[in-house]
């Protein structure tokens, strides 16, 4: 141990001695911490949103393989019935989604079919704006639907941030808020104290930082007390992540080697460390499959399915799976008919997945009709804002009307317990 480290260690002792000699008693910082307060709230549910960027081919994800319309429209891209993971007699999951199929089997997935919005826009950019803002008006880009949720339900000041973006892309419009800056993170390093040296040195430095922050101050200053509690809560969070990291050191990750899996693993680590953050957002790119779709799409389906399954398993083992719902969405589905390049062009309605303790596992809603197409695209029967409303009201326990509009009633996905 270097002399400096010893100084740090001794300073911790000195500081704690000083505290014990102080006239006023030390308030129970940790029990008073904002995190503790938020934990005691009834609803500690977490929402994870996975955006599939580029427009996912819904027909080759939740495959209506026994419906005539499908086999007629899809020649090069048709997925053979024998390989499909059966959900109903007519519909099943993509052959590469075996893990997801097991989750469906276990009653952990709602597959909401025929989701979209009126007068669908086939521009990636515009349609993403619509999905992310949950507003159809042009120029209504001030806030995203999750940003408005954060504005209406802010985290207690000084506590953990309410929303988090995970990934290297710029912050999703969905998270744009008027009142808070939602941080974007790519590695846990940003969520941890960056202490130098070996483990012992790290512990000493952190202890010293913490002792100095924890010291009782002579003047009872609410602003100072507030900053101090938040600082201590921050160190506490960081410590939890470090402990978690140590527990996992040397252990092989239970996640497959995919980008999405790594991002979900990071989210799981934060959840398991006990953070109060309730909204997480990440994305998977590459769904704009205009040519030679079959192989590329199969790989994406595999990544999506295996990553979500690993995430779910991790949370289950940690006893956290019933606190977490995961939503996938894409800006649009693709045209029913394949194009001449063995790919598909921009379409409209598509299915989406809600993974978690759902009350309506399996297929929700009918498959959109192949006989009633809109200019070659499937028509939606469920507005995506009803799915959002359900996640807000039925899951997070926040009023949905101010976020998505009162006309979009929540659909039943979680067993509607009225708050």
């Amino acid at each position: 141990m270097s002399a400096n480290r010893r100084d740090f260690l001794r300073s911790s002792l000195a500081a704690s001695t000083l505290v014990s000699m102080g006239a006023s008693s030390i308030p129970g910082f940790l029990s008073q911490s904002a995190r503790a307060a938020s934990d005691s709230k009834n609803n500690d549910k977490i929402l994870v949103v996975v955006q599939l960027i580029g427009g996912n081919d819904g027909l080759n994800t939740v495959v209506p393989h026994k419906l005539d319309g499908y086999s007629k429209a899809r020649r090069a891209l048709r997925l053979a019935s024998g390989q499909i993971h059966k959900i109903s007699d007519e519909i099943g999951l993509h052959p590469s989604m075996g893990e997801m199929a097991k989750l469906v089997e276990a009653g952990r997935v709602s597959i909401v079919q025929g989701v979209g919005y009126p007068n669908p826009d086939r521009s990636h950019f515009r349609s993403m704006e619509i999905w992310e803002t949950a507003k159809l008006e042009y120029g209504a880009l001030e806030t995203g639907w999750l940003g408005r949720t954060l504005d209406a339900n802010p985290a207690a000041a000084g506590s953990d941030i309410a929303g988090l973006h995970v990934g290297t892309r710029s912050l999703a419009l969905a998270l744009k808020s008027k009142k808070t800056e939602v941080p974007s993170l790519t590695t846990l390093e940003q969520y941890r104290l960056q202490l130098g040296g070996d483990i012992a040195a790290k512990r000493e430095v952190r202890d010293a930082l913490e002792r100095v922050a924890r010291l009782d101050r002579p003047a009872a200053d609410p602003l100072l007390g507030f900053v101090r509690r938040s600082t201590l809560a921050a160190y506490d969070s960081s410590k939890k992540l470090e402990q978690l990291n140590q527990q996992q050191a040397g252990k092989k990750s239970t996640y497959p080697d995919f980008g999405l899996a790594r991002r979900l693993e990071l989210i799981a680590q934060i959840i398991k460390a006990g953070f109060g953050t309730r909204i997480y957002y990440t994305s998977l790119d590459g769904f704009d499959t205009h040519a030679n779709q079959l192989g590329a799409h199969a790989a994406l389906m595999n990544q999506l399915s295996d990553s979500i399954a690993a995430f779910h398993k991790d949370l289950t083992n940690a006893g956290q799976a019933d606190r977490v719902a995961l939503l996938t969405f894409s800006e649009f589905g693709r045209r029913v008919a394949e194009n001449a390049s063995a790919g598909t062009d921009h379409g409209a309605a598509a299915p989406l997945f809600v993974v978690g303790p759902v009350s309506r596992p399996g297929l929700v809603g009918a498959h959109p009709s192949f006989d009633d197409l809109d200019d070659g695209d499937l028509k939606h029967h469920t507005d995506f804002r009803r799915v959002y409303a359900s996640l807000l009201e039925g899951w997070l326990g926040c009023p949905a009307a101010p976020v998505v509009g009162a006309e979009f009633r929540p659909m039943e996905l979680f067993g509607m317990k009225k708050a």
Binding site: L223, V227, A234
Partner: protein, 450 residues
């Protein structure tokens, strides 16, 4: 919590501060002045101002120092930075813009002007995320700097023709047939009067006066054919008002000076205790009487009894930019300084991305700066600056040499330099190693307050 009796005594509150036995001119007051009016100061400036007294110190902040942090004359440095700003092209990244500004904040000889430029950026909050044009954003920043301590009515007129602002508020095409109320509304609600000090009719009429104002190829222009030159009634005055008439009409409203002085109070005095109207009234009068010279109420504030009262010290939460720039300045990390772009990114991680305030209302500030992620990033910035692991911002501060240069024992030095009277250096315990002492002080809750 001690509050000041001055809060209920506006006359004495704004009377010039004169040091006395109970309120001596001491290091705590000198450092407070530099924290609020600038972005903290290095030891030599604190010591000089401690000798020179409050009048000379405040005057120097209002006028600016003779030399910049890198040893150039104040004008040489400004000329250099102005030419760098002028070189910003349409391909400039957000971090480039942010870095240029941060660099200027660190080294400027005119910290009060930069402080006010940042104040106006938060007041006329405009974001690159929507404007999407770095050249326009840089031009707006130049305008804010040019008028930062100038005349508010002039500034308002200039901002009303600023392309970045008009793009930001969707006011690039103000057609006669379809007056756009957005600019008129924000200018009243957020820029001059505050809610409840105008009617919807005032907004509609002001929008008519603003017709004909367009942004064409990134330039402001007025198209006479699109201007509604009929008679309008705004704030009870009737005339055939044009865009140029709006600033005068706005500042003629008594609420304007009160509104702006309330914001100056929050910036320079306290963001914890809301001031009474009686406390703001004398400031607003000074502002009006000066013909809206921004430096007039500032001069009153910075020279006042209230400003130097013990009870208003550390009544603000330092913004991420305050933390980043102030720490670099206090620790004299100037030759070479850190990567300003890396520092700007660090500010973003702490919750303040320059040129990208969350909305037209700016950053909420105060306790909204504080959350666990922000606090971790504040501590991580201190660890990086005093450590050697981070190539972009670390390894440039020799904490031992700095204390030795000024001939003060390191625990006393870093306590006096960074937090002064906020705590006794005893709480640092037995830590002696200068870099560790500095790190500890930088991560205390006290240091997070201004």
């Amino acid at each position: 919590m001690n509050t000041s009796p001055l809060l209920d005594d506006p006359t004495r509150a704004w009377a010039p501060f004169a040091p006395g036995a109970k309120s001596p001119w001491n290091l705590a007051r000198v450092a407070h002045l530099h924290r609020r009016a600038g972005f903290a100061a290095p030891w030599s400036i604190l010591q000089r101002d401690l000798k020179d007294g409050p009048v000379a110190s405040v005057d120097r902040l209002l006028k600016g120092e003779a030399t910049s942090g890198d040893g150039q004359t104040a004008d040489e440095f400004d000329t250099l930075l102005d030419s760098m700003n002028a070189g910003v092209g349409s391909d400039a990244t957000p971090t480039r813009l942010q870095g240029l500004w941060i660099y200027r904040m660190i080294l400027t000889a005119r910290p009060l002007r930069e402080r006010m430029t940042l104040f106006w950026h938060n007041h006329f909050a405009t974001s690159l995320t929507k404007v999407e044009n770095p050249v326009l954003m840089q031009r707006q920043n130049d305008l804010l700097r040019e008028h930062a301590l100038g005349n508010f009515q002039t500034m308002l007129a200039v901002i009303g023709k600023d392309p970045a602002m008009l793009v930001w508020l969707d006011s690039t095409a103000n057609r006669k047939a379809k007056p756009n109320e957005n600019y008129a509304r924000e200018v009243m609600e957020l820029f001059t009067l505050g809610r409840g000090r105008y009617t919807e009719k005032d907004i509609q009429e002001a929008a008519r006066a603003f017709t004909g104002a367009f942004v064409v190829r990134d330039r402001y222009s007025e198209l006479p054919a699109q201007h509604d030159d009929g008679s309008k009634t705004i704030f009870g005055k009737t005339g055939r008002f044009k865009p140029d008439d709006l600033p005068g009409l706005l500042v003629s409203q008594p609420a304007c000076a009160e509104f702006l002085c309330g914001k100056l109070y929050r910036q320079f005095v306290s963001e914890v205790d809301a001031p009474s109207p009686a406390l703001i009234a004398p400031l607003a009068k000074v502002f009006r009487d000066s013909g809206y010279d921004i430096s007039a109420p500032l001069r009153t504030i910075l020279r006042s009894n209230l400003f130097f009262d013990d009870a208003v010290r550390r009544r603000r939460v330092k913004s991420p930019v305050d933390i980043a720039v102030g720490t670099i300045r206090a620790l004299e990390i100037v030759k070479p300084t850190v990567s300003a772009e890396a520092l700007a990114e660090s500010c973003g991680r702490m919750g303040q991305t320059l040129y990208a305030p969350p909305s037209v209302a700016g950053w909420d500030g105060g306790t909204a700066w504080i959350n666990t992620t922000a606090m971790l990033n504040r501590t991580n910035l201190a660890l990086a600056l005093l450590g050697t692991d981070n190539a972009q911002i670390g390894g440039r501060c020799d904490a031992k040499a700095l204390a030795a240069k000024h001939g003060v024992e390191s625990r006393k030095f870093y306590t006096d330099l960074l937090v002064q009277d906020a705590f006794d250096s005893k709480i640092l315990g037995l830590v002696k190693e200068p870099a560790e002492v500095a790190t500890l002080v930088l991560t205390t809750p006290e240091y997070q307050l201004a």
